[in-house]
């Protein structure tokens, strides 16, 4: 598969959005429990964005608002979008599981959402993408064509 240009600023904005939303849901729910609804909403946003990039809320915020106004500068890199999409989808799946767990076992639901936020933060701060590593492992095991 050929390399294409991936704007890494869009990925960073996406990761920032994930971390911020989970943190608001986590801290905010201590004071106002209904804020937990942000977690299933985030799951929907990530899953929609994985299958229809036009519907990726945080990326659209970057492309439609932040980039045109010069608030965030573009950072094009020769890359493949598939591992990043896979990682985003994985985050969405984990948040969907977290959402299901929130009612019967809120501790596990919140813990899972926090883990997604931690991984998004590690990717944002250090460039380590666990989802991309899993993508490589699946390619190595010939489960997907990586």
């Amino acid at each position: 598969m050929a390399l294409t240009t991936v704007d890494h600023s869009a990925l960073k904005v996406n990761q920032t959005g994930i971390v911020a939303t989970v943190l608001v849901a986590f801290i905010g729910s201590y004071f106002y429990r209904p804020l937990l609804v942000l977690i299933p909403l985030l799951a929907i946003v990530l899953l929609l964005g994985t299958f229809a990039p036009r519907l990726a809320l945080f990326k659209q915020l970057y492309f439609q608002v932040l980039k045109p106004r010069g608030i965030v500068k573009p950072r094009p890199v020769q890359d493949r979008p598939e591992p990043h999409n896979f990682a985003q989808g994985l985050g969405g799946v984990f948040l969907a599981i977290s959402s299901v767990l929130l009612l019967p076992v809120p501790v596990l639901g919140l813990a899972l959402a926090l883990l997604v936020a931690v991984l998004a933060f590690v990717n944002l701060a250090f460039g380590y993408c666990l989802g991309c590593q899993i993508y490589y492992q699946l390619g190595k095991a010939r489960v997907i064509r990586a």
Partner: protein, 137 residues
Amino acid sequence: MTTQLWALAVAGTVVLAAAGLEAFRSARARRLAAGATGAPAAEPYILYFTGESCTVCRTHQEPALAKLEGVRVEKVDALAERELAERFHVYTLPTTVVMSADGRALQVNYGYAPATKLDRQLAAARSSLTLEQTATA
């Protein structure tokens, strides 16, 4: 304790367990790969395992490798050359292997390795080469 604190404790435990597991996995792979052999060369060189899906390779590892002056870097696609990748127990990308001139793996770095670290490892590889040459002379 509130739900939030318990959740924080659970997530923290999982993160620590994962970090410990990764450290164990990396140490085990490093031990298994130690002494693995590749092609001999005139001087110590670097085997650099990468792949198309590896972003860190392009954004971090390749600029770090470019900083090493006068060092031969042999780029290997880990998915295309599975046998070679297996020999060095490559389980993550990027992986860099500092090879001695006679083709033995001296140091294996799983994950991003900064230029300073690689430089240090290469210097150690060169000095061991010099020691061997002195001993045989």
